[in-house]
């Protein structure tokens, strides 16, 4: 087992886990505000599509980031207003959004770029990675922390910031109040609906960024349903972490390591069909174990 965990492995896990981490953070914040957000998968897909399209058209990764985040925000309007002002069922809306994202992005590939299935073009500019000069003398640390995208650093920063904001600031207190006891919060003068709308929209920005990292991070491509269940893994991470951003982030790491170990095992000759399911089995097992202990 010792040969399986290398700095390279940790690095791979850090990069591949970033989209899930951002989506899980969005889900955790929504969960704290009392909105069960299962539209993460679709929001991420929209962010990925918009990011790739903008990066291609403007020849700029920054444009990809800006447009991807904005698209995530706009798409999240459906859940933000559907589940609050219109009082629709968040689960039904989430399922509808995921399928709308899948259908719409797949549809738009043809009229916009004249391709089906996959849009791959050298003019799509990927996200730059940050090399940390100070670590050049320390190969182990450099292998860990150098060469990550800015979004990865921002994601971890946001996890810390969100944890502090939720549990140490008045706004965080109100947000948790809106989720735990909406009537009580309303009686104290907190505008429940506005808090929920703002949280879901902020989650849309985060999930849009998650999509950008996915499509412009290690690779620069958009393909149909490229999120491949990552948004759902984020939903699971939110459940595992009981909507606590830090705990949800740890759950994401668990998934990321299972994924990376699976990749290593694949390098040692195990069929990819089997190693691909490792992260899902690990997550499901973690969910079952954590819930069982709580129920006992």
């Amino acid at each position: 087992m010792s040969g399986l965990v290398s700095p390279f492995l940790v690095h791979t896990a850090m990069q591949s886990v970033t989209p899930i981490l951002l989506a899980a953070l969005a889900g955790a914040l929504c969960g704290q505000a009392g909105v069960f957000n299962i539209a993460l998968e679709g929001q991420m897909l929209v962010g990925a599509f918009a990011g790739v399209a903008a990066s291609f058209l403007a020849h700029s990764a920054l444009a990809g980031v800006a447009v991807g985040a904005t698209a995530g925000l706009l798409f999240a309007l459906i859940l933000a207003y559907g589940a609050t002002v219109l009082r629709g069922d968040a689960i039904v809306i989430g399922i509808g959004m995921n399928l709308l994202a899948s259908g719409l992005t797949s549809y738009l590939l043809r009229p916009l770029f004249g391709v089906t299935g996959t849009f791959d073009d050298p003019r799509i500019v990927g996200l730059p990675v940050l090399t940390i000069r100070a670590l050049s003398g320390m190969p182990y640390l450099a292998a860990l922390f150098s060469g990550l995208t800015a979004i990865t650093w921002i994601a971890w920063g946001l996890v810390a910031a969100a944890t502090v904001a939720l549990f140490r600031t008045p706004i965080g207190l109100r947000l948790r109040g809106v989720g735990e006891a909406p009537e009580a919060a309303a009686a104290l003068g907190v505008d429940v609906r506005r808090y929920r709308v703002a949280t879901v929209l902020f989650g849309g920005v985060l999930t849009g960024l998650a999509g950008v990292q996915l499509a412009l991070g290690t690779i620069t491509v958009f393909s149909d349903d490229m999120t491949a269940g990552r948004g759902w893994i984020a939903v699971v991470a939110v459940l595992l972490g009981r909507s606590h951003p830090l705990h949800a982030a740890l759950a994401c790491l668990l998934f990321g390591f299972a994924d990376a170990v699976g990749l290593q095992l694949q390098g040692r000759g195990l069929p990819s069909q089997l190693t691909d399911i490792a992260p899902y089995v690990v997550t499901l097992a973690a969910l079952v174990l954590s819930r069982r202990r709580r129920m006992a």
Binding site: G82, L86, G88, I93, G103, S106
Partner: protein
């Protein structure tokens, strides 16, 4: 926008069609031409059998979603249950020496068992371990599909073929065709549909499931054992998915090919159809037929115009979103 006597789905469908038309127009297509091609492609006399053929698995997967939904539960594991059933149905005729009709019955029965077990396992996740059914059913899709993919990719692969698929089943175990497009599976699905409607309308268990959907705590107070009921509803739902997998394998694909059962996304269209009617079987079936027509027409539209067939998926999702919002509005007024 509440009109007396008009089902709430009608305005949602009309508005979705309008939004879809705007999308087509904005991306350089002709909406009227596109919709015209969908109608002709789905409902013209010579195309009706295609629509029916697409409707057989889609209505089946609609019931897969509708049965638990009737009791307020969401089964997102249709893909895994479908694959489990399809794989078992493809293997039984290869391994068991028996006359053709015995093979067909046995393969279908074991496919029901396989689909039902996968679904019941997801149900156990909720009942026993407190993992929400939505998540336990969805997460099981990945291991089941991955395992099936590995099995037909390596140990059970047809070595003479370039694709990851099993050996073709003997002709005796193939469902007899019914005209050029359809096969006897259509009658089997009709029987399943009648069973589900009968169960819902005329049995005690069907009444109890409806009661759970309206108010689970009230149902429990009335003596319904919720845990056992959840497992039973999931097992029934998974068994129907198993039948769909068996009918597709025995009736048209004649073997299990990796990914072939999942690429048409019957599970998700079926889920949307069931959501459209909130799990009420007759309405769900009607919605499933409607979506089947929309998709079959979508293929024709893609052939005849430059508009991509994914328009049908977009329209389905829009209907669900508009309906979810509209229900909310109605509830607020009540």
């Amino acid at each position: 926008m509440t009109w007396p006597g008009v089902p709430p789905a009608v305005p949602a469908i009309l508005l979705a069609l309008l939004l879809g038309a705007a999308l087509v127009a904005a991306t350089g297509g002709d909406p009227l031409d596109a919709y015209g091609q969908i109608v002709v492609g789905a409902l013209a006399w010579e195309n009706l059998t295609n629509t029916l053929n697409w409707a057989v698995p889609l209505v089946g997967m609609t019931l897969v979603a509708a049965i638990p939904l009737r009791g307020g539960m969401v089964n997102l594991g249709g893909d895994g249950q479908l694959v489990a059933g399809g794989l078992v149905a493809a293997l039984v005729p290869l391994w068991l020496p028996a006359p053709g009709w015995v093979l067909i019955l046995l393969a279908t029965a074991l496919a029901m068992l396989a689909g039902g077990l996968v679904a019941a396992l997801a149900g156990l996740g909720e009942v026993r371990f407190g993992v929400p059914l939505l998540i336990s059913s969805l997460l099981l899709n990945y291991p089941v599909a991955g395992l099936a993919s590995w099995l037909v990719g390596f140990p059970l692969r047809d070595r003479s073929s370039g694709l990851p698929q099993t050996v073709m089943i003997p002709a005796a175990a193939q469902l007899p065709p019914l005209g050029d497009v359809l096969n006897m599976g259509a009658f089997a699905m009709l029987a399943v549909v009648l069973c589900v409607v009968f169960f819902d309308r005329a049995t005690v268990a069907g009444y109890e499931l409806r009661m759970r959907g309206l108010n689970a705590r009230f149902a429990a107070y009335g003596g319904v054992r919720l845990g056992r009921q959840a497992l039973a509803a999931m097992a029934a739902s998974g068994a129907v998915a198993g039948i769909v997998g068996a009918l597709l394998v025995l009736g048209s694909q004649y073997r299990f090919t990796d990914g072939a059962l999942l690429s048409p996304a019957y599970t998700w269209s079926g889920l949307m159809a069931a959501l459209l009617a909130e799990g009420e079987p007759v309405g769900s079936i009607a919605a499933g037929m409607f979506f089947a027509a929309l998709q079959t027409g979508g293929f024709a539209m893609e052939r005849e115009t430059s508009v991509p067939r994914e328009l049908s998926m977009v329209l389905q999702a829009l209907v669900i979103l508009l309906l979810a919002a509209r229900h909310g509005l109605a509830r607020r007024r009540a």
